[in-house]
């Protein structure tokens, strides 16, 4: 299986890359690590006229820690996060998540920006960044903008990116108290896409329960988040809250899928509470 032919450019600035991606009548795609785009091109699930190589744009590589939190460039690879080359403000959560993605040879190239921009329903970074309250920074022909990752990811392979816009990176706020977190997933084989991914974070006064794999995109579960924050520790009450969240976001889930999602969420909550 080989990709259909396409043109290739490697702009040297974000502005040039943005212009290349915004051309009228040209189906263009940015490529960074290529670990999601290239399989789709090879399988001809995706067909493009132009591939814009953004993998060498320095502006997308910057990682910095400030009192406000962590700014992480879109080109940061999963492996760099897994190996602790990025400051850890979140007590190992990002390292743990990074190490779960696909396989090492893929993690060496796959990027956090690509994961979120591609918005696979079973990708790991959207739920993780939503659970950490992160914002995404974007630049396009109309200038720069920023929005919560929770609003940026809108559906399966769908985001708020408009033509010519490029993800620059993410701003993840420093938790006001040491982060407590839990993470659980179910995948049939290590490295395969997970059927259910649950993340629970307690960041000072804010509690988030986020689920991916259950619907078209990762979602904050409002009832479960409220219940975990209230923290009376009773599983039956929490199960009822999860059930009402699933009714709202995954109404077509069958009995097995509902049990599966409930189990990953409860497991993540238990892990968080044990910290």
């Amino acid at each position: 299986m080989k990709s259909a032919p396409f043109e290739y450019v490697r702009p040297s600035t974000v502005v040039e890359a943005s212009a290349a991606l915004a051309q009228d009548g040209v189906a263009a795609s940015a490529i960074a690590g290529g670990q999601s785009l290239l399989p789709m091109l090879n399988l001809r699930v995706a067909i493009v006229d132009l591939v814009v190589d953004i993998s060498r744009l320095e502006e997308l590589k910057a990682v910095s820690e400030s009192p406000g939190g962590l700014a992480i460039g879109a080109l940061t690879t999963h492996a760099a996060i897994e190996d602790g080359k990025v400051p850890d403000l979140f007590r190992g959560l990002m390292r743990r998540v990074a190490g779960q993605i696909s396989y090492r040879a893929v993690r060496n190239y796959g990027t956090i920006g690509g994961s979120v921009a591609f918005a696979d329903p079973a990708a790991y970074w959207p739920p993780c960044l939503i659970a950490l309250g992160a914002r995404v920074r974007v630049r396009g022909p109309a200038g720069a903008r920023s929005e919560p990752v929770a609003d940026f990811v809108r559906g399966a392979y769908s985001t708020s990116l408009s033509a010519g816009e490029i993800v620059l990176g993410f701003d993840i706020p420093r938790p006001s108290a040491p982060l407590r977190w839990g993470f659980a997933k179910v995948a049939r084989k290590s490295g395969a896409f997970a059927e259910s991914i649950a993340l629970v974070t307690v960041r000072g006064g804010e509690t988030s329960v986020v689920l991916a794999g259950a619907s078209l995109h990762a979602r904050l579960l409002p009832a479960a988040s409220k219940e975990v924050a209230g923290s009376n520790g009773r599983d039956d009450v929490l199960r009822a809250a999860i059930a009402s969240d699933l009714d709202a976001i995954a109404s077509t889930a069958d009995a097995y899928q509902r049990r599966l999602h409930t189990a990953t969420i409860l497991k993540a909550v238990r892990e968080m509470r044990a910290q």
Partner: protein
């Protein structure tokens, strides 16, 4: 066609490539380096694993044109690598190959695992090797060979 320059197995070379050409096809078809095998061509099987800039990579999920200016090692270029020598011998001693199709990827990934984790136990190797598919020997002997190579190298 775009002209690229790469350092392939320690030797600089320039070549014209099509934008859509994967690194794997470039290595096999243009450079005649057929140790890199192609199984699935979408990143699932690991047979095409090579080393780009010192890191293991799927050559079916890398465009040759994106490797411009990069250093690439295939199994052919690791013939005299001391760690690869030990791995080859342990694969032989442990009967860690049968048809040999997955073996180049297994060896390259085995070397990557030992370089990162030094002396991994069997469970760690199994996890780390989960991106490499073998359809005949089975994994027991391959895991055993990599663990044994790690122990030998740590001595």
């Amino acid at each position: 066609m775009t002209n690229i320059t790469v350092e392939l197995n320690g030797t600089k070379l320039a070549h014209d490539v099509e934008p859509r050409e994967t690194l794997a096809d470039f290595l096999r078809e243009r450079c005649g380096l057929t140790a890199t095998h192609l199984g699935c061509e979408h990143g699932a099987c690991g047979a095409c694993t090579v080393v780009i800039e010192g890191q293991a990579a799927r050559s079916c999920l890398a465009l040759a044109v994106m490797c411009d200016g990069r250093s690439i090692f295939t199994l052919e270029g690791l013939r005299d690598d001391p760690m690869m020598g030990v791995l080859r011998r342990q694969f032989h001693a442990c009967h860690a190959l049968q048809c040999g199709f997955c073996t180049p990827g297994m060896l390259i990934m085995g070397r990557d695992i030992l370089r990162r984790l030094r002396r991994p136990d069997a469970q760690t190797v199994r996890h780390e090797l989960s991106g490499q598919i073998c359809r005949c020997t089975g994994y027991a002997a391959i895991v055993k060979a990599i663990v044994a190579a790690g122990q030998e190298l740590a001595l």
